[in-house]
């Protein structure tokens, strides 16, 4: 069994490395649309999903606030950098501040917001935690929607015209953003892998599995959860900054209920148990989203008058993945490996998702 597990790990590393080489060669291998629209978006959405998976896999907390955190960074940046000169932007505060300062403030502000939100939610578990984080998401949506000074439902546009000198021109050189997003995604992945191996990360996993026991051992359970939430907010804020550079704009719809659910679907399709699943889920979701629309299948369903056929197909794919493999595409790989080698779920990570406080 140990031998098989080691082989599986090597296979995974090989596949991971091959994927990395492939995306590093990006523009040479993929056409412009694939590189700019599909893969760049995959890296960015993957980072947000990774923050959700981090909380779920290592903290036992399924958070619906990650899109709100992502949006917070985007809106802070958008309000600070845009300018209201003629031909400029028409919504938001249009402060016209230095982009570098704005990025720092966006990341710091969002992390701080995450810590405050995390502290409030840290004593809740299970469905209650889910509901509190859903509330954050709804508050975020209505705040930016109704406080028209900071956005309004039209959102803030033209943000990617204002980037720091070290980042360069995002608008005309789209591969710049491709590599920046790829780099940030790798850093986020490595950072999560590092953090979960630190004493804090190990204690967090203890809190996930046995909060009562950890508490009686003297660990501050709410503090660990708060810090984890703050860290996840920081990760989400990175994706928020990249998102507004990629889209050029941000609007309440980016953090609305649909976007919140979409991110959860990305995480579930990828697999809530392992961080790698974030990017796998994002790729699957985005590819399906892009290509199913113009497919003959959608036309067929339209012709037989099944309304919203495109969403129906996404729903069916989601259902199929969840039924076959509750651990998402990553879990499917685990199962396929087990099936091929005759071992049952070898090397299954100890961090199977379970809402905080729910012991199996």
């Amino acid at each position: 069994m140990t031998g098989l597990a080691a082989t599986k790990r090597w296979v995974e590393r090989g596949v991971g490395l091959a994927a990395l080489v492939l995306v590093a060669l990006g523009p040479a291998v993929f056409n412009d649309y694939w590189a700019d629209a599909i893969l760049t978006q995959t890296f960015i959405v993957g980072i947000a999903a990774a923050s959700l998976i981090f909380l779920s896999a290592y903290g036992g907390m399924i958070s619906l606030a990650q899109t709100a955190m992502m949006g917070a960074a985007g809106f802070i940046l958008g309000n600070m950098v845009t300018q209201s000169a003629p031909g400029g932007e028409t919504k938001g505060l249009t402060l016209g501040w230095d982009p570098t300062l704005a990025i720092v403030l966006a990341l710091l502000g969002t992390t701080l917001l995450g810590l405050v939100f995390g502290a409030i939610a840290s004593r809740s578990t299970g469905i209650y935690f889910l509901m509190i984080t859903l509330t954050y998401s709804v508050i975020g949506f209505y705040f930016v929607g109704q406080v028209t000074n900071v956005s309004g439902f039209s959102g803030i546009s033209g943000i990617n015209s204002y980037t720091p000198g070290f980042v360069g021109d995002m608008v005309n050189d789209r591969y710049r953003l491709y590599y920046i997003a790829l780099g940030v995604a790798i850093v986020v992945y490595v950072l999560i892998r590092y953090v979960v191996r630190t004493p804090f990360g190990l204690a967090l996993q203890g809190v996930r599995d046995e909060p009562v026991r950890m508490s009686s051992l003297g660990y501050a359970v709410p503090l660990h959860r708060t810090l984890a939430f703050g860290f996840a907010a920081f990760l989400a804020s990175l994706s928020g900054v990249l998102l507004v550079w990629w889209q050029g704009q941000i609007a309440p719809g980016d953090i609305g209920l649909q976007a919140t659910i979409d991110l959860l679907i990305v995480a579930v399709i990828g697999g809530l148990g392992r961080v790698e699943g974030a990017w796998l889920g994002a790729l699957a979701f985005i590819v399906i989203n892009n290509y199913i629309r113009d497919s003959w299948l959608t036309e067929l369903l339209d012709d037989v008058r099944i309304g919203g056929s495109f969403n129906t197909i996404i729903g069916l794919v989601f259902l199929a993945i969840v039924i076959v493999s509750p651990d998402g595409l990553i879990g499917l790989w685990d199962r396929l490996w087990g099936l091929a080698t005759g071992s049952r779920d070898p090397d299954r990570p100890a961090m199977a998702p379970s809402p905080a406080g729910q012991q199996s």
């Binding site: 056409n31 412009d32 649309y33 700019d36 629209a37 209201s84 003629p86 031909g87 400029g88 028409t90 919504k91 209505y142 929607g145 109704q146 028209t148 309004g152 439902f153 039209s154 959102g155 546009s157 033209g158 990617n160 015209s161 608008v171 005309n172 889209q247 050029g248 704009q249 609007a251 719809g253 980016d254 609305g256 976007a259 699957a284 590819v287 399906i288 892009n290 290509y291 199913i292 629309r293 113009d294 497919s295 299948l297 919203g308 495109f310 794919v317 199929a320 993945i321 039924i323 076959v324 493999s325 595409l329 499917l332 199962r335 396929l336 099936l339």
Partner: protein, 468 residues
């Protein structure tokens, strides 16, 4: 569970992935076909204006059928597609239809899908105000692509943002309400009014037209209320309005499913609606409101949609006949709906532009886009819509009134003809002024170009009498 069974289940997602790969390959091979002008039609298929999908596509394609030899695949379902479009020696292909939901994120994703994945050169659309703002910003960074706005009424795309590759052959939401304030002041005797507006780009622009027109002649807006788009319970917003004995009337700019819901909330708070106390923007009479909303407000005046329903001019009848010929019964036979009409004119103008550029795209096409167009409901200047320096239409407008027809049905009648309405409202809106918002524009008395020149329209015929 047997192993065989498990294997079968495992095959499902694998099949899904395979299917996706096939779709990807199929669309790539499509993209690789011979060079031709690629056009995308962007509209909404979901959200508050989702019902505009077929009327919009039908409007645009009716123009392709009439002026570029396009053949509808299915005259009853425009989105089934069109073949054989040819402008001079250039083939035009409709590569896709955008499916927005009146939100910015979807609009920009759909725009990218159409312009980058399906590699469209030209977009006809989008449908709604916020979408047009985001498309205009997208256009700014994609100068080789050309965008002809479908029927979106926000002001920013052609005034504050105004990229050189964005064209709009119809009025914005403010222009569509030109003359309505003057009618309230002169015919209904309003001096003080409150306004309730959807809290987004189109709502603000549409309200801006009513406010500017009403204040210009001497009216006062005493209260502005802004419910968010897609609100379902309007009670708290209605409570913010002054009661009927404190104002002469109310302007309504609440759209989608909100129109009926907001009026109902008003009835619950202040009693039955008195038509002479309420004026709506196009939401009172168009976009499906004719069935639910209009019967409650028979007699009320309504802003327009850049069209003149029932106008008895040769040009208007010719336009209606063209749409009826290619897509009979489109939009329930209501061809005077801006959804059909504005998309029709957008596609027509593009065909003329492509003709003039000899099939060239980018800057050549943009330079060749027509500066005037003989649109159906146009009367001024020999029936020509003119584009201003920002590539925005200067257009005739037609204030309406909700009426009960002889057969008992409820409809609208054109009551006035407002000639040559431009986007600036006599200099009130300009490139350096803030885009319409909750407090923009302020209420100011001003001389508007059309003030005192609005002609009375009776039974679809423009008279020499001015509105008094």
């Amino acid at each position: 569970m047997s192993r065989l069974n498990r294997r079968w289940k495992l095959a499902l997602p694998a099949l899904g992935v395979l299917a996706i790969a096939v779709f990807a390959a199929a669309s790539t091979s499509l993209a690789a076909s011979a060079r031709e002008v690629r056009v995308a039609i962007m509209t909404d298929c979901k959200g508050a204006f989702g019902f505009g999908y077929e009327p919009d596509i039908g409007g645009a394609q009716a123009a392709f059928a009439q002026f570029a030899g396009g053949k509808p695949k299915n005259p009853k379902k425009p989105s089934a597609g069109m073949t054989g479009i040819k402008v001079g020696n250039t083939s035009v292909r409709i590569v896709g239809y955008g499916c927005g939901d009146d939100t910015v994120p979807t609009a920009i994703k759909e725009t990218r899908r159409l312009m980058e994945q399906l590699r469209a050169d030209v977009m006809i659309g989008p449908l709604s105000g916020d979408e047009a703002v985001s498309v205009a910003n997208y256009a700014k960074t994609h100068p080789t692509k050309t965008f002809v706005i479908g029927t979106a009424g926000s002001q920013d795309p052609t005034l504050q943002i105004a990229p050189k590759n964005v064209f709009r052959y119809h009025g914005d939401g403010a222009q569509w309400n030109a003359g309505t304030g003057e009618i309230a002041y002169k015919r209904l005797g309003w001096r003080n009014a409150a306004i309730i507006m959807d809290d987004y780009s189109f709502g603000w622009t549409s309200a801006a037209g009513l406010i500017a027109d009403f204040c210009a002649i001497g009216g006062k807006i005493t209260k502005r209320v802004f419910p968010p788009l897609n609100t379902t319970d309007y009670a708290s917003y209605i409570q913010q309005l002054p009661p009927p004995d404190q104002v002469d009337g109310y302007f309504w700019v609440v759209g989608g499913t909100g129109t009926a819901a907001s009026l109902k909330a008003f009835e619950q708070a202040f009693g039955a609606l008195k038509p002479s106390q309420h004026i709506g923007n196009l939401f009172f009479a168009f976009l499906g409101a004719d069935k639910v909303v209009a019967p409650k407000v028979v007699g009320s005046y309504v802003g327009g949609f850049g069209t003149g329903p029932g106008l008895k001019t040769k040009q208007a009848k010719a336009y209606e006949a063209v749409v009826a010929k290619h897509y009979p019964g489109l939009n329930g036979g209501n061809y005077a709906d801006g959804f059909v009409y504005n998309y029709y004119n957008a596609a027509w103008a593009f065909v003329r532009g492509l003709q003039a550029s000899g099939g060239q795209l980018g800057a050549r096409l943009q330079a060749s886009m027509p500066r005037t167009n003989k649109s159906g409901y146009e009367v001024s200047d020999g029936g020509l819509v003119r584009l201003d320096a920002n590539r925005q239409a200067v257009q005739d407008q037609y204030p309406l009134q909700v009426v009960k027809n002889a057969d008992g049905s409820i409809g609208t009648a054109v009551v006035g003809y407002v000639p040559n309405v431009n986007q600036s409202f006599g200099g009130l809106f300009k490139k350096t002024s803030p885009a319409p918002g909750r407090t923009q524009p302020p209420c100011v008395k001003k001389k508007l170009p059309w003030q005192g020149k609005i002609k009375v329209v009776k039974n679809g015929v423009i008279t020499n009498q001015t509105i008094r």
